[in-house]
Amino acid sequence: MPETLAATREMSFGEAIREALAEEMRRDPTIVLLGEDVAEAGTTFKVLKGMVEEFGTTRVIDTPISEPGFTGLGVGAAMTGMRPVVDIMFGDFLTLIMDQVVNQAAKIHYMSGGKWKVPMVVRCTLGATRRSAAQHSQSLHAWPSHVPGLKVVIPSTPADAKGLMKTAIRDDNPVIFFEDKISYTKVKGPVPEGDYTIPFGVADIKRTGTDITFIGTSSMVQVALGAAKMLEEIGVNAEVVDPRTTWPLDEKTLVESVKKTSRCIVIDEGSFRYGVTGELASVVQEGAFYDLDGPVRRLGATHVPIPFSPSLEDTTVPSERDVFELARQMCRK
């Protein structure tokens, strides 16, 4: 985020998202929050605690368990003067709203020849290792990233989450905003006070390095940083690049980094096959091929439904150790 900003506070990922929503709602009365138990309960993840007390039940609205219905309602509201922020809780429930998001929200502007706009934000979670089993642990951000007309945000830090959420709300297009469940409370960091936005399509270099580039998304940025630290001990200096939005995508920053380091691992928590890693690895090898020391490598969730048992689930998500070992090999250390 902008260097100019001075005052920051330590905040959790979830708190930063709430602050962004609250500041935007104070600024713009057309913003409403819709979702199951978003009001008094402040959502299952408690991210919206306190919002209904400040904005009331006409702007923080509990819905029935009707994800397709209230998402569709959000689309129509967005077309007619509101800026709804629709909360579907678990990203796994994207399965229920794909028609409203993909066949409606994403296409209305184009199909109408640019006449109607859909300034809507869909908030949902991603990420496993919470023992929630196969239907509550998926990271499905690859799906909307495949859909022209949508923008997809996958923040990794509190400061990014705040700035990107503000951009999402002010954007005149449907934006799918993915929040890592574990990060809500576990990831803390300095967050600038007051108003600032972070543009979409601008990757952030979370750590500069010279030997290898880790392209990490959402929850995997922390994993990449952890691995980078471990690699220091064996004399490998890793660069960590966070695209922050899968669409629009900052290809230039990704490619430039790999041209410099000559090696790349793409790390994402989605299922390994036909996911985000495939696109990012392809973009990198297309743009930096002649500078590559070897193939671009990928790490994603084991390609199985997420199992419940801790002894199984913990093996499915890429770990710092996995990244470290692969990087060590690639750097021949």
């Binding site: 057309t30 029935p64 397709p68 569709g72 003067g81 409606q104 706009k117 297009n173």
Partner: protein, 317 residues
């Protein structure tokens, strides 16, 4: 011009518009598919006559009638149907996606039932922003198969949203009779969610207008949603090209609807009987509209296709 005559004019405009669509399509001048509204004119006109210019509608794959009834310009519609740059959607939407903010048309939808959420959301905005607007969701009885409709009817009923669900029951989901796809009583599908309903003859524009006016009044006064089931019939195939239809509906059935019950005939008979108009007046309307429609077709045929480079525009606002 009296309101009834006004409605007659609109219905005739739709009839003549669709006859030209049929002609353009059969002459292979129109790309894609064409789902004709002929036979159902009284529904779109009766409902839209009860609306304000700034009220919203959502339409369907069989949507030309809705768009015209809400005030669309024929020439821009023909241009869109032919995929021309001058069309309502710059040629990007086509027959199934006519949209027009100027007339409150949120857009036709090629997903059956797909606009139920959109219409309900427009009503949500109207209530939240206190604009007094009403939203109408037009859909065929086939959309009763889509769960989304029940989800949003529940929301509209809970939140007393100014939305009117207009079910055009023309008895067929494509090539299947609705009795094979619809259990129980259609009217109960609305009342089950606490939404009052009226079931009526959709071929008599006076009845449709009256029922729609009641529903609009209810919506504007903050009492919430209504559901109208209009019994109607599509004269042509599911789409132009659906010619041999005997395997799913008898010719006799088609004939029975096209005669006495024809919406234009029902109204013209009344107009003549009540002396609101004479044959000459009605013939005059038809002649006038014919000229207008023919000119609109000419305009559309003559206007250019969008430049290929335009494919990249309008993806994002």
């Amino acid at each position: 011009m009296s309101q009834l005559l006004q409605m007659y004019r609109k219905m005739m405009a739709i009839r003549l518009f669709e006859e030209r669509v049929n002609d353009l399509y059969t002459r292979a001048l129109m790309p894609g598919l064409a789902h004709l509204y002929i036979g159902q004119e009284a529904v779109a006109v009766g409902v839209c006559e009860a609306l304000r210019g700034d009220d919203y509608i959502t339409s369907t794959h069989r949507g030309h009638g809705h768009c015209l009834a809400k005030g669309a310009t024929p020439s821009l519609m023909f241009a869109e149907l032919l995929g021309k740059e001058a069309g309502y959607c710059k040629g990007k939407g086509g027959s199934m996606h006519i949209a027009d903010p100027a007339t409150g048309n949120l857009g036709a939808n090629a997903i059956v039932g797909g606009s139920a959420g959109i219409a309900t959301g427009a009503a949500f905005s109207a209530k939240h922003l206190k604009t007094g607007q009403v939203a109408v969701c037009f859909f065929g009885e086939g959309a009763l198969g889509q769960g989304l409709l029940y989800e949003v009817m529940n929301l509209a009923s809970l939140w007393k949203l100014p939305v009117i669900y207009v079910c055009e029951n023309n008895m067929y989901n494509e090539y299947t009779h609705f009795s094979e796809t619809t259990a129980g009583d259609v009217s109960a599908r609305a009342t089950a969610f606490g939404i009052p309903q009226e079931t009526l003859d959709g071929q008599d524009v006076r009845l449709v207008f009256a029922a729609a006016s009641r529903a609009v009044a209810r919506a504007r006064s903050g009492e919430g949603p209504s559901f109208l089931q209009c019994k109607t019939y599509r004269y042509h195939g599911h789409h132009v090209g659906d010619i041999a239809r005997e395997y799913y509906r008898p010719k006799t059935e088609e004939a029975s609807w096209k005669g006495e019950r024809d919406p234009l005939r029902v109204l013209s008979t009344a107009l003549l009987a009540d002396g609101v108009a004479d044959d000459a007046a009605l013939a005059g309307i038809t002649a006038e509209l014919t000229t207008e429609m023919d000119a609109a077709v000419e305009f559309a045929l003559a206007s250019p296709y969008p430049d290929p480079s335009k494919v990249h525009e309008d993806v994002y606002a």
